[in-house]
């Protein structure tokens, strides 16, 4: 117990000193820190405490209608062909928010209507309203118009998916704790705390991340392609690396594989030339399809398309098995990473445009924060005073430990640049509470052992030994719950867990090791025969 060699003391004091120094930038006002020549790590204050950047995103609802019509068009084409008997249709087109097609054989009109109602009928939404109006003009031409209710529902569905995709993308950036709110029918409010670079956020959210693989039409006439005239069954798309949009390529219209079949996407480096690439992994079905398509098209080029821009159009040298592929295309590490995040968080069902940008004040309001700070100061003073009158000298040590612990937690959070929000503060309060509890446990044990008639040194030693076991058990349980919440939770649950985990590690050190050192030094120096505890 009394055996605290000099190197150990130096070590403990050294670690704590460094931690206190690292915590200081987080406590100083931002304008003082920003003047410092070195870049000091600092805690990010969350939206509720300090505000942050604000983006208002707006969805293009015409897009949703167009996509809805496009899907229906594909569905009709397949169903008419697949059913028995086959119904030949022609002149199918989606224009002006309507979808129309013609039945070639007039005697099949009734059968076509029957089959069409089967398709459209299956699209009846939860509200029980029809999603399409169907009418027949000129006895063979069908015209489908999406109803208002159907469109509204479609927009609503798209927006809720979009909101989740936006959240996933921001969560990928680290423990940011964004606020994401749907506003009105077609807008999303995004608030991110302390973001230095709103442009990166805008780039990330602006990507639709629609990934497609299409075969290149090698027979297309290059001159016609340059003029934008597509052969039948083809589409013409520009290359992403050519901002002028001059370089174009003709591709088969049908998409062989799409991003829906992705299992994962990561930024990696090319084995051969060390260039940043995006490595993608398909899910089972996508992998099989990818293998089949590449097998059937060896020595032909295919194009990798993101958001209707061709990233690259390599030749298929051999069949690619195993469901893994690389997207190359002159990426930087950052742009490859952004694309990987966008692909893995899923495709936005609708394009989002930034319509407003601003900074916002704290969610909680300056007044509440002032009140909170005052309350915390009074609470801290009360706890310190109470520990002092209960445990005397041992209370002083406990208080020292708690104060230093606060600094150490702040330092640790600054190093991993965690975001501190109100739930984080709750985690803080819990850690401080259990740290105080650790000292209460130790001191009560010492009291107990003194009552049993043990000598000062023995009582202190046993007190620390027995209490340490209890403290270990309690902290292990805490750590388990913290870990689960960190891995599973997001938003406030995650913020709480981060602070809790850091606090567990630091409080054991300060509440047990540090106070033990102080007590040992005092006993060694004074050799008391009785202690006031």
């Amino acid at each position: 117990m009394l055996d605290f060699p000099r190197w150990k003391i130096t070590g403990i004091v050294g670690v704590l000193l460094i931690a206190v120094l690292l915590a200081i930038p987080s406590l100083l006002p931002e304008r003082i820190v920003s003047q410092s020549p070195v870049n000091l790590p600092r805690i990010n204050l969350g939206l509720d405490l300090a505000g942050g950047s604000y983006l208002l995103l707006e969805a293009d609802t015409n897009d949703v209608a167009a996509a809805k019509i496009e899907t229906m068009r594909d569905q009709i084409a397949t169903e008419m062909r697949r059913g028995n008997p086959t119904i030949a249709i022609g002149d199918i087109s989606g224009r002006d928010g309507k979808l129309s097609f013609m039945v070639r054989d007039p005697s099949q009109v009734d059968a076509a209507r029957e089959r069409l109602l089967g398709i459209v009928g299956s699209g009846v939404g939860m509200t029980g309203q029809r999603e399409w109006d169907v009418e027949v003009v000129d006895s063979t031409r069908f015209v489908l118009t999406p109803t208002k209710a159907g469109l509204a529902q479609e927009v609503d569905r798209a927006m809720s998916v979009a909101t989740e995709v936006v959240r996933r993308r921001i969560d990928e950036l680290g423990t940011r704790e964004p606020t994401i709110i749907r506003q009105g029918t077609d807008r999303i409010v995004v608030q991110v705390p302390g973001l230095q670079d709103p442009q990166a956020l805008k780039d990330l959210l602006g990507k639709t991340a629609k990934l497609e693989f299409k075969l290149v039409d090698v027979n297309a006439d290059p001159q016609q392609v340059a003029q934008g005239i597509a052969p039948i069954g083809d589409v013409i798309l520009p290359f992403a690396d050519d901002p002028s949009g001059q370089r174009k390529i003709a591709l088969k219209r049908s998409t062989v594989i799409s991003g829906d079949q992705l299992a994962d996407a990561r930024q990696e480096f090319d084995q051969q030339n060390g260039q940043p690439v995006v490595a993608i992994t398909f899910n089972g079905e996508g992998g099989r399809r990818f293998a089949r398509v590449t097998q059937e098209n060896v020595n032909k080029p295919f194009a990798i398309i993101v958001d209707n821009q061709v990233i690259s159009a390599p030749n298929i040298d051999e069949a690619i098995m195993g469901g893994r592929a690389q997207i190359r295309g002159g990426f930087s590490v950052q742009s490859a990473n952004e694309l990987a995040i966008a692909l893995r968080s899923g495709k936005l069902p609708v394009d989002l445009k930034v319509v407003d940008e601003s900074t916002v004040g704290p969610d909680l309001g300056q007044d509440s924060i002032r009140a909170g700070i005052l309350a915390s100061a009074v609470a801290a003073a009360a706890v310190v005073a109470f520990m002092l009158v209960t445990y005397g000298r041992f209370g002083v040590y406990a208080n020292l430990a708690v104060i230093i612990n606060v600094f150490v937690i702040l330092a640790a959070m600054a190093i991993i640049s965690a975001t501190l929000t109100l739930p984080g503060i709750a985690g803080f309060v819990l850690t401080i509470g259990t740290a105080v509890d650790a000292n209460v446990l130790i001191n009560e044990r010492i009291r107990e052992e003194r009552r049993r008639g043990r000598s000062v040194v023995q009582a202190v030693e046993l007190g620390y030994k027995e209490a340490s076991r209890t403290i270990f058990e309690a902290n292990m349980t805490h750590a388990i719950s913290g870990l689960v919440m960190l891995l599973m939770g997001s938003g406030p649950v995650k913020g709480f867990a981060v602070v809790l985990l850091i606090g567990i590690a630091t409080s054991v050190f300060t509440a047990v090791t540090f106070t033990r050192m102080l007590v040992a030094l005092w006993i060694r120096k004074n050799r008391p025969t009785d202690i006031n505890i």
Partner: protein
């Protein structure tokens, strides 16, 4: 200096004797809590259910707490205020009103508009729209899953480190604390928002801490007093840890008391939940988890042959 001692030395309170009453009471309160949540529902705040967003432009940067108190007096729910880079522009978020049809929404908007115009001459109302909650259903699902998995993880840990009875009793006790807290929120209809989620997590944390401390002492005493009856042993352990339980609870309540009175209204629900949690958690450590150990049939190892003596204290290393 004479030091303060809240709990006298060597208390001998018969906690365990009352356990059947306590079980009855606990069961009754738990059922009541579930029923309350089922019937009255939780009063979810704007964080969860979304609501209205009103943008108000003031002639000069307003005092935020004055705006807040003006709106609070209207009885339209708790508001969340946020200032933009232009501090004269303030957004006001309000939860969805009961039976919100368009008419009701418009009435709320008009009430707020008129009250603000009266209190702050020159304030103009620029627009309003409906907003979703901050918390999507996916987030809620993940959060609940995280808490449930954490509870299971803790119970497994307790089974692994102690005996299976400790795992079960800890799980039941945490569940009890959760139910009580939710019941309290259903009863008082205090707004349940993201800060309360943090408070609930903190409550669980404190409560687990409390249980492990007592559990650890029970285990220790089981080794020391091998032939003592389980109920005496639990009583002894709870009494031995009583000074610590009271000390810690008083310390925390002191801190929370300061928060309740000085923390302003945003922290009030948070603090109320925590105070309730400390009380409920302490109760459940003694009357739910510890007493349950007896019912679950935990017993000390039979005395090793030849050790003799009743309630013999196993020697400790000095």
């Amino acid at each position: 200096m004479r030091l303060l001692k809240i709990v006298p030395d060597n208390t001998n309170i018969g906690f365990v004797r009352l356990r059947y009453w306590a079980f009855g009471l606990t069961l009754l309160l738990s059922i009541a809590s579930v029923a309350l949540v089922g019937v009255k529902h939780l009063n979810f705040g704007v964080d969860f259910v979304g609501g209205l967003m009103i943008e108000e432009r003031f002639p000069s940067p307003p005092e935020i707490d004055k705006v807040r108190s003006t709106i609070d007096r209207l009885g339209v729910g708790t508001s969340t205020l946020q200032q933009f880079s232009d501090p004269r522009l303030v957004t006001i978020r309000l939860p969805v009103q009961d039976g919100a049809d368009e008419g009701a929404t418009n009435r709320v908007v008009r009430t707020v508009e008129q009250a603000l115009a009266k209190e702050f001459p020159g304030a103009t109302f620029s627009r309003y729209s409906t907003v979703s909650g901050k918390v999507s259903s996916e987030l809620v699902r993940n959060g609940i899953l995280a808490v449930v998995l954490a509870m299971i993880g803790i119970s497994l840990f307790a089974i692994f480190r102690f005996e299976w009875q400790f795992g079960v009793s800890t799980f039941v006790a945490i569940l009890h604390d959760l139910l009580m807290t939710l019941g309290f929120f259903a009863l008082t209809q205090l707004e349940f928002d993201l800060t309360i989620v943090a408070a609930v997590l903190t409550i669980i944390g404190y409560s687990i801490n409390d249980k492990i401390v007592i559990d650890d002492r029970i285990r220790e005493n089981m080794r020391k007093y091998r032939s003592m009856s389980m109920s005496d042993l639990v009583d002894l352990s709870v009494n031995e840890t009583l000074p610590r339980t009271v000390m810690t609870s008083v310390t925390i309540l002191l801190a929370l008391g300061a928060m309740l009175f000085l923390g302003g209204h945003v922290l009030r629900g948070f603090t109320a939940a925590m105070i309730l949690g400390v009380i409920v958690g302490t109760y459940s450590s003694i009357y739910v988890s510890s007493s349950l150990l007896i019912t679950l049939g935990l017993r000390a190892q039979p005395p090793a042959p030849g050790s003799g003596g009743k309630a013999e204290r196993i020697a400790e290393q000095p």
